[in-house]
């Protein structure tokens, strides 16, 4: 901690505490300390600690975020049904109240720990750390953290995850990325969920949703997902499989700390109206 507060005086930084330095005391007893540290540095520190724990166990961790009711738990249930036999999956569930979601996933046969946050609108790294005490990561390949349903606060808190995924369900409207830029800018993939409703909600345009996402300078793929059919789930399973493969090769070479999600444009199923992005003649 001393390197954050200026008390660790070495020959290299001694000038800072001498007269005129930025940590110097003024005659009046006033002192100004330049900190320049993230306000959530304690959370970030815990998140790094969580990540080290995940790396020791070779577990890929995915933080799922969305509005309430966008289909996070249904997606996990369908994922477990599709991959449960081949992949070790565990889930940490975040909700204000109830064990309902963790119970649904336990019924699918996987370990699930529920965090009830009370009135807190997001999970933080400390809550995840507490949940990790209640679960074994032995034989687990992928841990999903289902965040509290909220498109605002969860975006600000690193939990130690490797990948951020947001669900945008068709009934919510295609302008969600424009309304919640902090969240959608932070994610590595966006799942357009409940696409079976597109036929009854023609006002939702996947192209407008993608345009709004690209307007945030995001290269995250936008995947159409409908958990009610095998074909509808496939784009997500393909993308997930690719992340797992890249993570496994990073694990084999001991480079998990350098793992980055694959955000190849090859997986974009819809295409933005590129006219909006086409460079116009630069008249300086």
């Amino acid at each position: 901690m001393c390197d954050t507060c200026g008390c660790n005086i070495t020959p290299g930084n001694k000038h800072l505490v001498e007269a005129g330095g930025k940590f110097s005391h003024s005659a009046s007893g006033h002192e100004s300390v330049e900190v320049l540290q993230n306000l959530l540095s304690e959370n970030d520190h815990q998140a790094d600690h969580n990540r080290e724990h995940f790396h020791r166990h070779g577990v890929l961790v995915i933080n799922l975020m969305s509005s309430p009711g966008a289909g996070k738990t249904s997606l996990l249930e369908a994922t477990v049904r599709a991959l449960g036999g081949k992949l070790g999956i565990a889930v940490i569930e975040g909700d204000l109240e109830t064990e309902n979601d963790a119970q649904r996933l336990r019924e699918c046969g996987i370990p699930a720990v529920q965090i009830t946050t009370g009135s807190a609108c997001h999970l933080d790294a400390h809550m995840v750390h507490q949940a990790l005490h209640q679960m074994s990561l032995d034989n687990i390949d992928v841990l999903f953290i289902e965040n509290v349903g909220n498109l605002v606060c969860p975006a600000s808190f690193d939990l130690g995850q490797h990948i951020n995924v947001a669900l945008l369900s068709v009934p919510e409207g295609d302008d969600k990325p424009a309304k919640y830029p902090v969240m959608f800018r932070a994610v590595d993939a966006v799942l357009l969920s409940k696409t079976d409703l597109l036929q009854v909600l023609p006002e939702f345009s996947p192209q407008r949703a993608e345009t709004a996402l690209r307007s945030l300078a995001s290269e995250a793929p936008l995947l159409n997902v409908n958990v009610r059919s095998a074909e509808g789930l496939q784009p997500w399973l393909d993308w997930l499989g690719e992340q797992i493969a890249v993570f496994k090769s990073a694990r084999e070479t001991g480079a998990m700390g350098h793992f980055r999600p694959v955000t190849g444009q090859a997986h974009v199923l819809t295409h933005p109206h590129l006219s909006q992005f086409t460079p116009r003649e630069n008249d300086g």
């Binding site: 007893g29 002192e31 993230n38 600000s156 424009a178 290269e219 460079p279």
Partner: protein, 125 residues
């Protein structure tokens, strides 16, 4: 909505610094960008609650807001843009990188050294 949590983290950070110096906090200067996910106004309102009974109680809270700017690698230009429209205004390129606007940083803590060199604790973390 999470501004109180952020404010509590701020107070804890400032307390560490103040406690090591046996001082009380007179002013905190933050940098909060529009893309940080934190509302400056809500942070201001949460601060008296989060700082009550700590060495930050009564301190002035100053919040500097950096504009949202993006750098376009094609034009090699940095431009100010809206928080949900991070395209290069020169050429329309969406593959820009954020140059400023997502800061959530404690920049400066101003302290007043106590006249009496008491060793009492300055509040609980």
């Amino acid at each position: 909505m999470h501004e109180l949590s952020v404010c509590q983290a701020l107070v804890e950070q400032a307390e560490l610094i103040a406690r090591e110096r046996q001082a009380s906090v007179t002013r905190l200067i933050l940098q909060i960008g529009p893309l940080s996910g934190v509302e400056s106004e809500l942070l201001r309102r949460a601060f008296p609650l989060a700082s009550a009974g700590t060495c930050c109680e009564g301190a002035a809270l100053e919040i500097l807001a950096a504009p949202v700017t993006v750098y376009c690698p094609d034009c090699m230009v940095t431009s100010e843009v809206a928080a949900n429209k991070l395209l290069c205004p020169e050429c329309g390129n969406w593959r820009t990188s954020l140059a400023s606007g997502d800061e959530m940083v404690l920049q400066t803590v101003e302290l007043e050294t106590r006249a009496a060199n008491g060793n009492e604790s300055t509040g609980q973390r």
